[in-house]
C-alpha cells in the first residue's frame, strides 16, 4: 500500500513473526505455553500504553485503571447478569473507552507531568473505590471469581491469546505508520510546534487515548476470562504499571514492536527467576536492569537492533 510505505522486508518480517507465533505449540511444552500466554497479554497492555504514552510523552501512570475497567465490566456482566461473553466483551471495550474518556480526557488538557500524577491518582482511587462501591456487583476486596473460560487447555488458550495479540499488534503498527503516527510522535517531541503547524493537538491526543483505552479494555476483558477471577489488587496495582512501562522501555517506546519484544523478554526473565525469588522481589532484578538500560539507551532494544542493522548495511556498502 502506497499510503503506508510498506516495503517487502516488512511483509517478510511480519509473515515470519506470525508463523513463529502460530507454530509455537508444536515446539514447546504446556508450561512454556502458559508463560507465553501471559506474555501475549502483557504485550497487548504494553502496546496500549505505547500508543498513548510511548508516542506523545503523556505518561499514563494510571493505565491499569483502564485494563481493570475492561476486566470488571466483563466480569460483572457475565457473572452477575448472565450476559454471554460474545456481548460482554465488546461492551467491556466500549465501557473502557467511555470511562477512560470521561475521567482522563479532561486530564489531557493539563501539562504532561500533572497528567501522570492525575492518572496515578485515578488508579489509586479505583483501588479504594471498587471494593466499597456496590460490593454486590464487584465482589468487594475478594473480587469476582469463576468467570466463564473462553477456551480449554493451554494450547487453545495460547491460540486465542496469540491470535488476539497479533491482530492488535498489526492494527496498531499499521495505524502508527500513517501520518497520524507521525503527528503523535511530533507531539512527544514538541507539542507547541505541532499546534504551530496547524494541528489540533487535543483532538490527536484524544484519539490516541481512545485507541489506547479500547485495546486496554479488550485485552483486560480477555485476560479476566483467562485468569478466571478478578480482584482489585490484581488489576489496580502499581506493580502492573511497572511491568507495562518497563516492557515498553526495554523494547523501545513508540515503536509498537518494541513493547512486544520487551514484554516477552520481561516475562521470560521473571519466569526464569521464579525458583529463586517467588514474589515481587524479582522486580528488583528486573527493575535494576531496566533502570540501567534506560539510563544508557533510553530507546531500548529496537534502537540497538536498528544500530546493528545500519552498521551491517554500512559495511556491505
Amino acid at each position: 500500500m502506497r499510503t503506508l510505505d510498506l516495503r517487502p522486508h516488512h511483509l517478510v518480517l511480519w509473515a515470519a513473526f506470525i508463523a513463529l507465533m502460530l507454530l509455537m505449540p508444536q515446539m514447546v511444552g504446556n508450561g512454556t505455553l502458559r508463560t507465553m500466554i501471559f506474555a501475549c497479554y502483557l504485550a497487548m497492555f504494553a502496546i496500549s500504553w505505547d500508543i498513548l504514552s510511548g508516542r506523545t510523552g503523556y505518561l499514563s501512570f494510571g493505565h491499569p485503571f483502564l485494563i481493570g475497567i475492561g476486566a470488571y465490566t466483563t466480569g460483572i456482566l457475565t457473572r452477575r447478569y448472565g450476559i454471554p461473553v460474545e456481548a460482554s466483551i465488546p461492551i467491556a471495550v466500549l465501557v473502557t473507552m467511555a470511562g477512560g474518556l470521561i475521567i482522563l480526557l479532561p486530564a489531557l488538557r493539563i501539562k504532561g507531568s500533572y497528567f501522570a500524577l492525575v492518572t496515578l491518582a485515578v488508579m489509586e482511587l479505583m483501588l479504594q473505590l471498587v471494593p466499597v462501591i456496590r460490593p454486590d456487583l464487584t465482589g468487594g476486596t475478594r473480587g469476582i471469581s469463576r468467570l466463564p473460560a473462553l477456551t480449554r487447555g493451554a494450547e487453545n488458550g495460547y491460540y486465542l491469546a496469540a491470535g488476539l495479540m497479533l491482530a492488535v499488534a498489526l492494527f496498531a503498527w499499521l495505524l502508527m505508520r500513517t501520518r497520524l503516527g507521525t503527528a503523535l510522535w511530533a507531539i512527544g517531541m514538541n507539542e507547541e510546534s505541532v499546534r504551530g503547524s496547524g494541528l489540533s493537538t487535543t483532538r490527536l491526543k484524544s484519539f490516541a487515548f481512545l485507541v489506547s483505552a479500547g485495546i486496554a479494555g479488550l485485552a483486560g476483558a480477555f485476560y479476566a476470562h483467562y485468569l478466571g477471577s478478578i480482584t482489585p489488587r490484581s488489576f489496580f496495582d502499581i506493580n502492573i504499571l511497572f511491568q507495562i512501562i518497563v516492557a515498553v522501555l526495554i523494547g523501545g517506546a513508540g515503536t509498537i514492536i518494541g513493547p512486544i519484544i520487551g514484554a516477552f523478554f520481561m516475562v521470560f526473565l521473571l519466569e526464569w527467576l521464579r525458583p529463586y525469588m517467588p514474589g515481587t522481589e524479582r522486580f528488583f532484578v528486573y527493575g535494576s536492569i531496566a533502570l540501567v538500560l534506560y539510563m544508557y539507551q533510553p530507546k531500548g532494544i529496537m534502537a540497538i537492533v536498528e544500530t546493528i542493522v545500519s552498521k551491517m548495511k554500512g559495511s556491505r556498502a
Binding site: A107, I110, G112, V122, F283
Partner: protein
Amino acid sequence: MMQIIVQGLLLSGLYALIAMGFMLIFSIGRTLNLAYGAYIMVGGYIYFWLSQQLGMPKIVGFAGAVMVGALMGFLKHRLIVKPLKGDAVAVEISTLILAIIMQSVMVLVFGDASKILLPIIPGVVTVAGAQLTYNILAATVMSWIIIAALYAFVRGTHTGRAMQAVSMDEKGAAISGVDPDKINMITWAISGALGAAGGVFFASYTQLSPQMWVAPVIISIAIVIVGGIGSIIGTLIVAHIIGFLEVSIVALWAPELRGVFTMLLIIGVLVMRPQGLFGREEH
C-alpha cells in the same frame, strides 16, 4: 466533634511534614518524582529494623532512618537526576522504576506482609475531651517542630535562602554566586531526610508494608501542587484541608471511603486548577 478537630490537626501535621520534603525537590525540578515514596517506605523500615528487630533505643532508630533518607536523597540526585538533565519524561520514568526497585528490596529483606510498629510512646491521653494515643501526639508534635525548623532554616540561613533562590531561578542564582549543584545536592538530602522522618511517623500511624508509599506520595505531590509550588504556607493549608477531610469522612461517613474522597478531591482540583491555589505565577 473535638475528636475530629484534634485528629484532624494531627493527621494534617503528618501530611504537612511529608509534603514539605516533596516540596523542596519539586520546586527545583518541577517534575514528578515518585521515588520520594521510597524515602517514606525505607524510613519506616529502617526505624522498624533498628528499633524493633535490633532493639535499639527509638531515638537511634529515628536518627538512622533520617540519615538513610538523606543518603538516599543524595545518591538519587547524583546518580539519576543530574545525568538526566531535566528531561521530564525520563525523570518520571526512572523514579518510578527506582521506587519499585526499592519496594522489591524491602520485600526481599523484610518479607511481604504488613508489620505493625510498636508505638513510639505507648499509652493514651485525653486532651480536651478527645482520646489520643501518645504515639500520634508525639509524631505530630515532632512533625511541627521539624516544619518550624525547616521554615527557620529556609528563611533564616544563608543556605536556606540560596535554596529558595535556586528554586525560583537556577540561572539567576548561579550568576549571583550560588553554586546550584551543591544547593541541589543539599536540597535532595534534606528532602530525603524529611521523607524518611515522615515515613517513620506515618508507619506508626498506619502500618508498615511495601506498598504503603503510593497513597502518601500521591497526597504529598497533590498537596504541593495545589498549595502552590514553593509556598510553605500554601502547603500547610492544603495539608490541613486534606487531613481534616479524611478524618471527617472516617468519623462521619464510612472508614472505607477515606481514601476515595481524598483522591477525588485531588483529581478534581488538579484537573480544574492545575496552577494550584496559592503559588507564584508561572509562565
